[in-house]
């Protein structure tokens, strides 16, 4: 294998975690999270490097990564909007938020703008139903949203 793509910080944090589990395979989810934090998505060569580090076949890494929706197996925009449209949020107007984003960015849900700035997806329940509608912008929650609050937030992004 050639030059490592994941940082020293990644490997150090994994080493630290290793003692917390009786099996190295248990590091797979934490490793995929940490790798995605560095790359914003999980390209094939990163999946391979994670597999090599943990000592499992590349197919096993893909089998696991593809089970979980939070792992981006395709590139996403700089700003990844995950709007919850599950039961509590849909009762509180989340559909309007998704449609607003589609219009604003000229894309359909699930797509990324051509300038790679925004990805808009519908998300399943975020566990913020008391402050619905809710969404995640990258790693952060934004709750009790309205179209105007969403606009304010988006218009202030770099």
């Amino acid at each position: 294998m050639g030059k490592k793509l994941l940082s020293e910080k990644f490997y150090k944090s994994m080493e630290k975690l290793e003692s917390r589990y009786p099996s190295k395979v248990a590091l797979l989810l934490p490793a995929l999270h940490a790798a995605q934090e560095e790359w914003s998505w999980l390209p094939p060569e990163i999946l391979d490097e994670v597999g090599a580090y943990i000592g499992v076949h590349p197919a096993q890494v893909r089998e696991v990564a593809s089970f979980y929706t939070m792992y981006n197996l395709k590139p996403v925009g700089k700003y990844h909007l995950k709007i919850c449209t599950n039961v509590a949020c849909c009762l509180r107007g989340s559909e309007e938020l998704v449609e607003h984003c589609e219009k604003k960015f000229g894309i359909e849900r699930g797509e990324t703008t051509p300038d790679k700035r925004f990805t808009v997806v519908e998300e399943e329940c975020l566990g913020a139903c008391g402050t619905a509608p809710a969404m995640m912008l990258n790693d952060d929650y934004h709750e009790s949203l309205t179209v105007s609050k969403l606009d304010q937030l988006l218009d202030h992004l770099e």
Partner: protein, 422 residues
């Protein structure tokens, strides 16, 4: 207002260890427990009538009692912080405002079952809460409340936060254990139950956040005291109700178990329906719970009373729907969720959920056929009880109950060729 165990501390100031030690009697319960006989701790838990707060309502003391005393393999205590049942958002408040209650509860639980390792499996989306838990765990280590030789008693317990990555099924305890082990979160065939062979093959107890966070109270004030907080015979303590949807004041409400009806929760505590509209439907226990109509809400919101009328308390997540929201559209959304989240192991669930989704969607869009309702009931009957885990039942229950209780709405869509309110 009666005393609350959690809700009174639901603010940022309660989070630091210092507050927990000084204002909440923090880590006095673990000191006491670690000098007790392990069977006596389990005895107190049994007396407390604590019933698991994750959704199944299983008696916690009895569950702890299933763990074998001797085991060649290491034992584990795992906290289920996946909080994935739609409508549920109470555990998030415990983790972000009173993380030390959970940590101390886990120290006590681990000692009682003889585990030296524990994990908090938290849903991946709760990134902030995972960081806050990590900080609190570090505080507890630094203070000698966690780690080696806790309180100088010789008992050691290591605790690690493990993040999920977006899969509803990982709230199911064996799916969770597979996910913890670095696998796909597919539920396991039971038996063996986790108490015999759970995490990494060792005897394991999996408890919900709210369940574990109540343990310090139970140890400090006694199982009997906790049991008496509840108003029903077999349901002790207080409960965190999550109310969402069309109410004026959604949120988490902590009330003695068995002390409140759905009507009281909706109209007294949450100040009624948004815009003073009429009530159409209530989902009383997370999206998996069979739906209730507006005239069925004079029922006590607890395990047995709700079971008696054919639904369930689940995770005490109450979703309120007003008259102007289309119930067909709502069921379509709920069913889409289950079709998306089915792990695909069991054919009835994998295929059936998708079929139900397609049929309900076509009804919603005015392309339904006369025979569709009978077909929906047939499919849901062929899912319920025929799958490895409860996801199948969770998908079937809403379909059966919505079709039965709001049949006229479905028929109006089919006969009119469109949503009547569109």
């Amino acid at each position: 207002m009666s005393e609350t165990l959690f809700a009174q501390y639901f603010n940022e100031e309660s989070r630091p260890l210092d507050f927990y030690l000084k204002k909440m009697g923090g880590y006095t319960a673990s000191k006491k427990a670690l000098s007790m006989n392990q069977d006596d701790i389990i005895g107190e838990m049994k007396k407390s009538n604590m019933r698991g707060r994750g959704g199944a309502g299983f008696p916690t003391g009895m569950k702890w009692g299933f763990i074998p005393k001797q085991s060649a393999k290491a034992k584990y205590l795992v906290c289920n912080a996946d909080e994935s049942e739609p409508g549920t958002f109470k555990d998030r408040d415990i983790m972000r405002y009173t993380p030390h209650l959970l940590i101390e509860g886990m120290v006590i639980g681990a000692y009682a079952i003889g585990a030296n390792h524990g994990y908090i499996y938290i849903r991946g989306e709760y990134t902030r809460e995972a960081k806050l838990l990590d900080q609190a765990i570090q505080e507890a280590y630094d203070a000698g409340c966690l780690g080696k030789n806790i309180h100088g008693t010789g008992f050691s317990f290591d605790l690690t936060v493990h993040r999920g990555a977006g899969a509803y099924i990982c709230g199911e305890e064996t799916g969770l254990l597979n996910s913890l082990e670095g696998k796909r979160g597919e539920p396991r065939v039971k038996p063996p139950f986790p108490a015999q062979a759970g995490a990494f093959g060792g005897p394991t107890i999996v408890n919900n956040v709210e369940t574990l966070a109540a343990v310090p109270y139970i140890i400090n004030r006694g199982g009997e005291w906790f049991s008496n907080l509840g108003k029903l015979e077999k349901s002790g303590g207080t409960r965190l109700f999550c109310v969402s949807g069309h109410v004026k004041k959604p949120g988490v409400y902590e009330l003695p178990a068995g002390s409140v009806t759905l009507r009281q929760l909706i109209y007294d505590h949450c100040h009624g329906i948004l815009g003073d509209k009429k009530l159409k439907a209530v989902i009383p226990g997370g999206s998996s719970a069979p739906v209730l109509t507006a005239d069925e809400i004079d029922v006590v919101a607890d395990i047995e009373p709700l079971m008696k009328i054919g639904t369930m308390l689940g995770s005490a997540a109450i979703v309120v729907v007003s008259e102007d929201y289309c119930v067909v559209k709502l069921l379509a959304r709920i069913t889409r969720f289950y079709a998306h989240e089915s792990c695909g192991q069991c054919t009835p669930c994998r295929e059936g959920c998708k079929w139900m989704e397609d049929i309900i969607e076509r009804i919603e869009h005015g392309h339904g056929r006369e025979e569709d309702l009978a077909m929906l009931l047939d499919i849901s009957n062929n899912i319920a009880g025929k799958t490895l885990c409860a996801l199948g039942d969770a998908a079937a229950g809403p379909v059966m109950s919505f079709v039965k209780k709001f049949r006229a709405d479905f028929e109006a869509h089919i006969r009119g060729g469109k949503c009547p309110s569109a």
